[in-house]
Amino acid sequence: MSDKNKDEVYNAGRFQKLGIILAVLFYVVSVVMVIRNYGGMSVVFSPDTRVITIAHWQLEDGFREGIDAAIAEYEKAKAEQGVKVKVRQVAIPVRGYPQWYLTQLIGGSPADVLEVTGSSDILNQYFTALSPYIGSPNPWNKGTPLEKMSWRESFADDMLSALDTAYSEFFSVCTFMHTTRLYVNMKLYEEATGTTELPDTLTDWLEACRKLKEYGLAQERPIIPIGVRGFDKGTIGQLFSTYNSQLGTDLSDTGSKYGYGVQQGELFRQINSGELSEDRLLEPVEVVTEIGQYFADGFPAIDLEQTKYLFFAGNVAFFIDGTWNAYSMINNAPFPVRVIQIPVLDKKHRLGAKSFGRITELGSGIQGRFGIPKKTRDFELALDFLQFLTSWKINQLVMVEHCKWMSSLKEVKYEGVMKDFEPVTNTSHTAISSPFTSIGTLSNRLALQRLENSIIHQPEDPKAFFWNDFLNDREQIIDEVREATYGVQRNLWSMDGTRSALAVGVALSESDSSEIGLYLLRANINLEGIVSRYRAVDANIQLMEELGKLKEYGKNGD
């Protein structure tokens, strides 16, 4: 080996040795720190302190601080009641939440108040049914405008969004609300349309978009009249359900056989028998497709960051998005921004003749669903904290003050910029669900994909395009409904298990003790629940039958 090489090996040796020493030192330091951390973990609370944990995936700025503030208030309030309580908050990134959530529920000891997600089966199997507890008023609402209301009625939508339709049961309550709004780049809007008066009807909005497109071509600028977050199809779904309700809110009278509320199978039965034309369900597709022509090219592949990037770059006139980061959007956009509601389908529009105008927004935007797993060790405290979190004063503290979001409760006044976000409530027309999007997670995803294709390809008859494509997906949709039916039948078995446990409870307790009353009450609730499961099974079977009988567009019912 040449001399040059030899000393290099040698002096490299010294440099290497330094490297090894550094690495070992770094390792030793980290071992010491880890041991110290373990020590830190063992901050055991005194035995009589009751500890519960709240877990969620909301990492937006303000949310965690808001929850911490609520926890501080709660611990103080409980201390006054002489109960020592400690509440821990765990925030999990959204990317890892599905796996974390499922594994905690199945394998481990889940948090006591947990943000819920996933299919109805998972909710029904792992979360406590809350319907027995929502009838009475929320104890933490004393001295507030919601004092006389039951816990259920204290919510802006009467807990409609928290109702799990598959099991007709409440497994969670909602904590915040978002509405969908249009953020308008006033500088660009004024340049293109020559006015500062913003459109309130669909016709005016489409007219403004046409002008914006022409302005873009004239100026050779890549102007995008309507910017949407295509990536997770949330906005298209929102537009579709808005116009579906404006066109079809009357279906909840004709389309319901058992009581107020549309049943999907019943609607398809009426289509098969010719009593109802499928057009009534498809008109919203045509409306959204017409709006879609003004979306950016390639919008499905653009996510929220890029859409905001384009908006701030000044090329997007109307940016449609939820109100979760509206506050920061408005304040630091390099041009004046105003907020308007989704324009209403007006009579002048060719499809607007039968439109019922704006419908109440109470049902749509309420989210942040928190439930209590069955495996919780302290159900009574968990329920108490959940009611505290959804009490009038505290919910506003967390949502309105810290996150600048809207509370999910009634009687909440908003001022300043947030006034434009307030949901529409001065109408008696309630939102209804479209059979295309509300059968299950898979059929919803397929429906929104179809809607997206319809916008991209702009077929000359969007209704036929969407309907015939829907028929191709039928097999997968029926498969999903069948899986849901098995879920309900499995559930009948476990509900009979509940019945037997309650029967043993009755046999156990002395004849006239208070326990017997509670067991009989819960036994009745269980049996009433079994009757509603029969309704769910029959509805699913009818839905599968009617789906199978549907024919090509225009050929149904003759």
Binding site: S136, A507, L508, E528, R535
Partner: protein
């Protein structure tokens, strides 16, 4: 359906046996077993029941755990234990009733899922057991449950439909037990009259009777009242009763989301003012 042995072997090899079986047969283990089962703590209930196999409580709880504890389910053995208990006159009545209802119901459910259970459900004639339970304790909640499970199946079968509807009416009329047990039956009656016979008048009557006794689930009470008004309004066309119940709904639930809808329907019926 026990997990294949070699899967358990692999798991145990790594997992190491977790804590030996808890011993200690205290004086009131039977009572403890029932309490654990009532709280649906299947693992504890099963363990305690296995310690007292010859007592009635041990037999009942062991049988029920075999049926409903999904992680260690052994339906065949469970049904066998419960059948012995049910047909043994010397056993306490409460235990026999519960064993009978659980045995018959699971057999009935297995017959509905033949693609899963094959003909294992045919081993017990659930209708005969349900009838026997109803005869043993006519006014009890066990009889009420047995009847509901039975009548639902008979209504599904077109041949027995007419007879089933009559039996439903007679059962409700001469039920000797506590009337508070009947609302779920009325709820089923309302639903089946609409589904099978489109007879909204009788359905509304049953809903009304059930509502007057009072449903246990508060949300069922609320939606039931609105449904009652809606049926009279849109399906039967009995204006005064519709107005009466819409108004009652607005009094009891003024803040509810559907109050606005009730108000709209009242205006439709020409009774704008509240």
């Amino acid at each position: 359906m026990v997990k294949p042995l070699w899967v358990l072997a692999v798991a145990l090899a790594g997992a190491g046996v977790v804590g030996a079986e808890g011993s200690g047969t205290g004086r009131n283990t039977p009572h403890e077993a029932l309490k654990a089962y009532a709280a649906m703590d299947y693992t504890l209930a099963g363990k305690l029941a296995r310690q007292i196999p010859d007592t009635p409580e041990g037999q009942l709880v062991a049988g029920l755990c075999d049926l409903y504890d999904r992680s260690r389910q052994d339906i065949g053995r469970g049904q066998l234990t419960l059948a012995e208990l049910f047909y043994n006159e010397k056993m306490p009545l409460d235990y026999r009733l519960e064993a009978g209802v659980a045995l018959a119901r699971t057999a009935q459910l297995m017959k509905e899922r033949r693609e899963l259970y094959g003909d294992a459900g045919d081993r017990y004639d659930h209708e005969k057991i349900f009838r026997k339970v109803m005869a043993m304790a006519p006014g009890s909640s066990a009889a009420r449950n047995a009847f509901l499970y039975l009548i639902r199946e008979r209504l599904e079968d077109p041949a027995q439909q007419e007879a089933a509807f009559e039996e439903l009416e007679t059962f409700l009329r001469d039920f000797s037990g506590d009337p508070k047990l009947l609302p779920p039956i009325h709820l089923l009656a309302e639903y089946e009259y609409i589904r099978l016979k489109n007879d909204y008048k009788t359905a509304a009557r049953h809903l009304q009777e059930g509502y007057e006794i009072g449903f246990a689930n508060p949300s069922e009470n609320r939606s039931g009242l609105f449904r009652l008004a809606f049926l009279y309004h849109k399906k039967i066309g009995d204006k005064p009763l519709a107005v009466k119940y819409y108004k009652e709904y607005l009094e009891r639930y003024p803040y509810s989301g559907q109050a606005a809808v009730a108000q709209r329907f009242l205006e439709e019926l020409g009774e704008g003012g509240k």
